[in-house]
Symmetry: C2
């Protein structure tokens, strides 16, 4: 018997039939003697619908109110799952973030979890109930509803697993694991049976939609064994097979992992590029530009400052596309005049493509192969950023698919190797087409 | 300057455009120097959509979970209204029932308000903000979300007005006041400028959809001056005209009110009739039948016990149609055998039609006129119930419209008199067609 946290994404919760399927799966785990906490996302499309309602009234709605509105999506799906479980004869109760409570800071629309009080939940588990906790949300010290930002339900699940000391956190989603890249773009993409925490961190931060970045950070910080697996398989499949399916995020690297130089190609179109032209090249200038941006609670990803010419330089960085307008506004009003910049401009039509792999550490020439591959396809590189286990480039977004396919082939990911391809123990799952 | 509570129904909150209209109206009141608390319903159709989701999973969903789901409708509409007000430059914040808090008992789907803590709200009003409070819901002592039942937002509004000592509670809805009957059924129906608390109580309990019964009870108990008026008029109409529009529910009866013998014809199709046949006629039998029904938290409306024949009698009563199946179940399992009843049967195809009027007290022959009118139309009366100011009959529901039209004419309500007809001061409102 173990305490296990299940997380189900929006597609898995997308209809009455799918919710019944989730309930059947949870009931199977519960009947096998496990203590189960379930963290559901809102039904697919619901969060967008809610935000759309707010935007129909005001282009930039008040964020406290937006959170109160958006948080209802998970309250509904959690209640529906409780109803479905009780219908199967399983005692189940849903709790909103504020009822647990899950305490966060007050940064509306991107709050951070500060504390999870597990007493009430453990009490319910102790008396044999399945506990359902709304993902994506919490409550601040003043009793206001907050949300954790897009994909926040993953973070909720991992944080709850950490707070309760769960044995494993199972992230059920509409794909059957983490792939070498998105199979919708590269049909030859292969599922990884195991991925290191660091690789997953890079993939998540680079836009692989499988897991939200902060959930991986949480998993790493608290060493929560986390598995990504499909909710679209037969809910009645034997538990021992299900327990080995999907992709396990591990904290121990082994030799086999080092063999694959690059384990995956990640990409996203969520970023926008901003350049501040003609910045005086003097100490503190980066802070003077990015300080107000951070102050407006905007996350910055890549940052590039070129060599100065004639005492001025150009400063570029990327932000989430949704924050592009806000960032430009902050720069125009709070930064431009103060630092004496010549011009501020940006581009939202960019994409980021990255090669990620633990093996990169011990191999040279990865960057060269990546740049040559892109050059051969005639793709211009606009920005470059590297870390120990990844190389990212910003390119014109119309070339994104082309770049991903070319790199997937160049790094030999189309071939089956030790970390990917059909799982010998579980061919049924490995062949399930990702949705 | 006064503290005023506004309540807006689902149709008034039915779209982004309508919510902007509500915001414009609230802003007008706020800018005139009033302290405004707004209690919105869920957007039209939303509560049904949410309950439909639950029912798609389970015919009789768990009521705690159903409440958590249904309560989200008002959380969304309240957030949207706050966004619309802030967009107009008016400081506004929304609060869910649990954030106020509005404390209720734990009778899910039909909870009763026990306490409203006005501190937080008065504090916000004091600093000049408009406060928006979700209607329809509260929180019990254990921190579970509860709802007050259909139309509960009216009750929320009146209860909040009472708790805060508001000067007036304005119930904005899609009709421009209380009519002598539903104008959709009788085009000659007239708007009443004033209605007594007792008449309103009877009309609400008899199914006039304008105001929920418990809200009228609250208004009466705490003597909250309550006005029903239209949200579909021009939001920028002068405040002094708007303040006199609609129908005022008053606690002082005047002579003019006594003149109209019957002030309105109310009706509903929400009830179902249940008969317990062959009940032994002995003391305590009514309690043995209705005790378990009340214990299952089912409200009973009309009750009739016939004269006994050969030591047994027949016992009939009505419940809400939604509770029909549950009531039959309770009777079959907990009552039938114990009391030795012969048979239990019921009918959901019934309607209740009532004549209501303060003037009835001092006039005879009202019942006779009512029964004669129905007989002349060939309508059979199945059950009769009377109070000091109303007479109700249960009939086959296919005759409901016919009965309402005939009675409206018989009691001379088609004619204009002192309490109805176009308002001389405000013809624009009086002519606005009810939606």
């Amino acid at each position: 018997m173990a305490l296990i946290v299940h997380k189900y994404g929006g597609t898995s919760m997308g209809s009455a039939e799918r919710i019944k399927n989730v309930a059947a799966r949870v009931a199977k785990w519960h009947r096998a003697g496990h203590q189960i906490v379930v963290v559901p996302s809102a039904m697919a499309g619901e969060t967008n619908r809610l935000i759309g309602l707010a935007r129909a009234i005001c282009e930039r709605p008040d964020e406290r109110e937006l959170d109160a509105i958006a948080a209802t999506g998970e309250q509904v799906s959690s209640g529906l799952l409780a109803i479905a479980l009780r219908h199967l004869g399983v005692d189940a109760r849903s709790y909103a973030g504020w009822q647990v409570p899950i305490t966060t800071d007050s940064a509306y629309t991107k709050a951070r979890i500060q504390n999870i009080d597990g007493k009430r939940v453990l009490n319910e588990l102790g008396r044999g109930a399945v506990v359902i906790i709304t993902g994506f949300q919490g409550v601040d010290d003043a009793g206001n509803i907050t949300t954790l930002g897009r994909g926040g339900s993953d973070t909720s699940a991992v944080a709850i697993a950490a707070a309760l000391g769960a044995k494993e956190c199972l992230i059920y989603t509409d794909v059957d694991g983490v792939y070498t890249t998105d199979p919708r773009i590269v049909p030859e993409a292969k599922r990884l049976h195991v991925v290191s925490f660091e690789e997953m961190l890079e993939m998540a931060s680079l836009g692989s939609k499988v897991l939200q970045l902060r959930s991986v950070e949480f998993a790493g910080k608290y060493r929560v064994p986390t598995r990504v697996l499909s909710s679209l398989t037969d809910p009645f499949m034997p538990l021992d097979i299900e327990m080995k399916s999907g992709t396990l995020i591990t904290f121990e690297e082994d030799e086999k992992m080092e063999q694959a130089v690059v384990s995956g190609i990640a990409f996203n179109r969520d970023e926008a590029k901003i350049t501040v032209l003609g910045v005086p090249d003097k100490p503190g200038i980066a802070f003077q530009i990015l300080g107000p941006v951070a102050g407006a609670n905007i996350d910055v990803d890549m940052i590039i400052q070129n060599q100065s010419v004639n005492g001025t330089t150009d400063f570029s960085f990327t932000v989430h596309r949704n924050e592009f307008a806000k960032t430009i506004e902050v720069l125009e009003h709070e930064v431009k005049k103060r630092i004496g910049a010549r011009e501020i401009f940006g581009d939202t039509k960019v994409a980021k493509v990255s090669a990620v792999g633990i093996g990169m550490r011990s191999h040279v020439g990865i960057a060269a192969l990546m740049f040559r591959t892109l050059a051969e396809e005639g793709i211009n590189i606009q920005m470059i950023s590297t870390s120990e286990i990844k190389i990212s480039v910003i390119i014109d977004d119309k070339y994104m698919e082309l770049a991903v396919r070319a790199l997937h082939r160049a790094f030999d990911l189309d071939a089956t190797n030790g970390r990917n391809g059909p799982h010998p123990e579980n061919p049924a799952v490995a062949h399930a087409p990702p949705n």
